[in-house]
């Protein structure tokens, strides 16, 4: 591991997913990174989330109708 780098912490997140009637569907475990420890320019530079505008979605529905 390079000198100037720091490892980022991770943690387990446990979730219990319920069915509509309140019974247990499944136990879910997911490993997540503590993203808050990331430093801009060092651990990441560009971020972007592909989110469709609601106008677009509604338009597709209007066209599909």
């Amino acid at each position: 591991m390079p000198e100037h780098k720091k490892p980022i912490g991770v943690k387990w997140v446990y979730r219990t997913k319920l069915n509509v009637d309140g019974t247990i569907n499944k136990h879910k475990a997911r490993l997540v990174v503590k993203g808050y420890a990331q430093i801009f320019g060092v651990d990441f530079s560009e971020t972007f989330a592909p989110i469709a505008r609601l106008d677009t979605i509604r338009k597709l529905l209007a066209v599909a109708a």
Binding site: M1, F48, P50, R58, A62, V63
Partner: protein, 404 residues
Amino acid sequence: MKSAFLNGYLQEEIFVEQPKGFVVRGEEEKVYLLKKALYGLKQAPRAWYSRIDEHLLKLDFKKSLSESTLYFRNSNSDYIVVSLYVDDLFVTGNNQSMIDNFKSEMMKVFEMTDLGEMAYFLGMEVQQNQYGIFICQQKYAKEILKKFKMEECKSMPTPINVKEKFCKDDGADKVDEAIYRSLIGCLMYLTATRPDIMHAVSLLSRFMHCASEVHFKAAKRVVRYIKGTLSYGIQFSCIENFDLQGYADSDWAGSCDDMKSTSGYCFSFGSGIFSWCSKKQEIIAQSTAEAEYVAAIAAANQVLWLRKILADLDMEQKKATRVNVDNQAAIAISNNPIFHGKTKHFKLKYYFLREIQKNEEIQLIYCRTEDQLADILTKPLSKTRFEILRNKIGVCSKRCKEEC
């Protein structure tokens, strides 16, 4: 899509500690170098987007330049459209086998579940029937009532009182801002299928930082209106020709604090509206004509964007898009530079409307104030007028959608 973010490849060098319970004995000091993204990483959504983008392009999809989450593929008269919302894919097209084919192509590479015909997307309930498509957020609306303990409240016929004016310092006692903000935030999300409350919510959201009893009471009135219209949503009816049409309107110096006006516009194919906006203008308009002109500009910008996307979807608008404005002077200004005296203070960017009118992309046409649908987005209305306009913009109850 299951665990979508885990599919993204990382470009940056990122080291993580060993996860609890999986530490290798004797090598506790070592760390992992990530190749693919994990949830929680700042760049995880981006990495995922690059991955799916590359994959869709490989499947011969084209990406819309005006909306980077919209992909489409045409062959002869068949088309398929994919809209991406982070890890939700919304697929539509006119050829079922093409869609099935696409699904299986995707499932080969990504782990995903097919939810079948769209019934629920981004909190919107979607119903498809022989008359068209109906979208609403009834479940969410009920949750709002519950969250703010207003399940038993009396309902109201309109979201906002016609006579009431709001200002920052109204002298009334201040309320807990956290609750007010939370309520406005909830209502804001509800506007996804409820353009009828758009104006009220956008108006009340101007007082997030100085909420008083008066504002809070008005916000609760919106909830009481919702209570009486829980099952309302937008009905998109089947239509033959997809001619985009719009309405642009403004009020006049409606804000008591800074005398700015509010722009409103909405667009449809002749049935339910699918794109709308209600927003305080950035400048102080010096005449009603100027306020209307500014609203028309906002609508014009939206027209350009909508036309581009429609062109991508192979529904290019051959004719100029007609935008209804109920102010003759504003139309005159957009056509003719002769009104110099009244327009010499207009900012340069507002002249761009003339240019795109000349290019035949947009055409402002006059409509009577009674026919101005965007009225509902710019000012409080009386019950009768409100109900007429609400019906005209395609907002109706789940039950009566057959009649719309």
